[in-house]
């Protein structure tokens, strides 16, 4: 059975918390979050696909990927990794960008901090998302949060029901 996804919002502090357990050992979960060939297999919610162009999982290294939409649209994002402690935690700064990785400063950025914790049945991941501004937090939530899903609420509902 699938585990529950816990989501807490703390808008005054411009943070969102996402927690999820997995029935798999920590090493596997860590790999799934930090290796591009694995990330590409689950990072995008269907029917979108995540496609990594380059990924250098080291402190200061860059992850350049795009979300590939069902009608051929591509939304690029660029993350810069930091504070990597293998099998425990890593962070990255994420911004929307063009296909060369040039970031768009008009768009809100977000900061990801991911913690990996072993549990008796597998492992748990705790994600903390921080935003520079409240408007940024709301904008990202409004945009479907990820990779530039510029579709409106109703489109997303439709998409999610499909």
């Amino acid at each position: 059975m699938a585990h529950q996804t816990l989501i807490k919002r703390d808008l005054p502090n411009k943070k969102l918390y996402v927690t999820r357990e997995f029935n798999a050992p920590l090493e596997k979960v860590w790999d799934a979050w930090t290796k591009s060939d694995l990330l590409d297999k689950w990072w995008a919610p269907k029917p979108w696909k995540a496609v990594t162009k380059t990924m250098d999982f080291t402190d200061g290294g860059i992850w350049l990927y795009y979300m590939f939409g069902p009608t051929g649209e591509k939304h690029f994002s660029r993350g810069i990794f930091n504070s990597i402690v293998p099998q425990q935690t890593f962070s990255y700064d994420c911004k929307f960008c063009d296909e060369e990785g040039n970031t768009n400063d008009d768009m809100p950025g977000m900061y990801w901090h991911n913690e990996f914790i072993p549990t008796p049945t597998g492992s748990k991941v705790e994600v903390t998302l921080s935003f520079n501004t409240e408007a940024g937090a709301m904008k990202i939530i409004e945009m479907g949060f990820e990779g530039g899903f510029t579709m409106g609420l109703s489109n997303l509902d439709e998409l999610l029901e499909a």
């Binding site: 005054p12 999820r20 689950w42 995008a44 269907k46 479907g144």
Partner: protein, 101 residues
């Protein structure tokens, strides 16, 4: 400019106004007394809240009262549900992937 409920709550003063109005309907003057900012600034926030449909105005005698619109606030929960669904779908995909690793 398109207004929506997310713009309504993206500002701390507007959130404070909503909290006050959730308790009872108030006039713009009564609202302004709760804030250190200028009356114009509060009026501007009320205007945005009205455009976002987070509040409704009602004329009572010579006064205009602002009422909280809980129906509109539900849109935030609906959005959070979509957001949750998005993550659940991703994590279900990850579960499948982990099974085969």
């Amino acid at each position: 400019m398109r207004r929506d409920i997310f713009q309504a709550i993206a500002d701390p003063t507007r959130r404070a106004i909503l909290v006050l109005l959730a308790v009872q309907a108030m006039t713009p003057n009564a609202l302004a007394e709760h804030f250190n900012t200028s009356r114009q600034a509060v009026s501007k926030h009320i205007k945005i809240l009205t455009e976002c449909e987070a509040v409704n105005q009602q004329q009572t005698g010579r006064e205009i009262y602002y009422h909280f619109n809980p129906k509109k606030m539900k849109e935030i929960d609906q959005w959070m549900d979509s957001f949750r669904k998005l993550w659940e779908d991703k994590f279900d995909q990850l579960d499948d992937l982990l099974k085969n690793l």
